[in-house]
Assembly symmetry: C2
Homo-oligomer: 155 residues x 2
């Protein structure tokens, strides 16, 4: 059950921001371009019926840097607590999968134009899923103050 699993990106992020700076991703526009050798427009049929998608992507930048497995202070902030890699969203995490919800602007053949994705030009895309209200958190959300602070200028 812990065997290696091979994944192949279904497409690539094209356009939009080129540098993975930390904040102000909200108006970033880019395209998710499916691999046209394996997919047709059929794969995206009906995606125009949802306002948001969840994009799963591979943190390909600095892929040779060591993976984090323990705990550290988010963003190196001395005033924030040490938390484990699975209690934060850092990209040097095991398997380096990023997930992010963004707005669908337009579906165009084998591509989707999106707004507000925090991934740079050239990022490999592993999956695209429709966001349904039924899959959002059930019950009241609780989160640490530092998480709210990180997100304050993020979008």
């Amino acid at each position: 059950m812990l065997d290696i699993i091979e994944m192949r990106p279904v497409g690539v992020v094209r356009g939009g921001r080129r540098e993975a700076t930390k904040d102000h991703w909200g108006d970033n526009r880019c395209r998710l371009e499916l691999d046209a050798e394996r997919y047709t427009a059929e794969a995206l049929a009906g995606l125009d019926q949802v306002s948001h998608v969840e994009v799963l992507f591979y943190f390909h930048i600095a892929a040779d840097e060591p993976t984090e497995a323990g705990a550290r202070r988010p963003r190196g902030r001395e005033d924030w607590p040490r938390v484990g890699i699975f209690a934060q969203r850092g990209r040097m995490r095991p398997n380096r999968i990023g997930t992010s919800i963004c707005r669908v602007v337009r579906v165009d053949g084998t591509a989707v134009e999106v707004e507000g994705l925090d991934a740079v030009d050239g990022t490999p895309v592993l999956d695209i899923k429709p966001v349904w209200s039924g899959y959002l958190p059930r019950g009241e959300l609780r989160e640490p103050a530092w998480a709210k602070e990180i997100m304050r200028q993020y979008w």
Copy 2:
């Protein structure tokens, strides 16, 4: 950018439901057990500060069945429209990654007890991320009626 990426599960789902039937996952309790050879409790430090986690897992059941790349009617329902694999959440999707948000019940060493995860005993876990309000959908959500119908008895 479309090269194969190798992933290794960080742990396994233990306990809870054993059959992947479609509905009533809301009270399913199980443990996400990290691979103790690679992780210590440090990896989960601070996870008790969030109420919900997003679990990324591998749809390992029927892994030998063909992957869907085109469009079909969700759940085979003749009264629902044909939609592409990226416009639905079916498990025979490319890369077979499931994402789901569930409640944190308790952090216990290298394991997390969760409630409401729609994955069966033995499912490989690829990642665990804290759910932060800042990462939820920005702006109004729009979704098709059939998606709401699927979710009506899901939890």
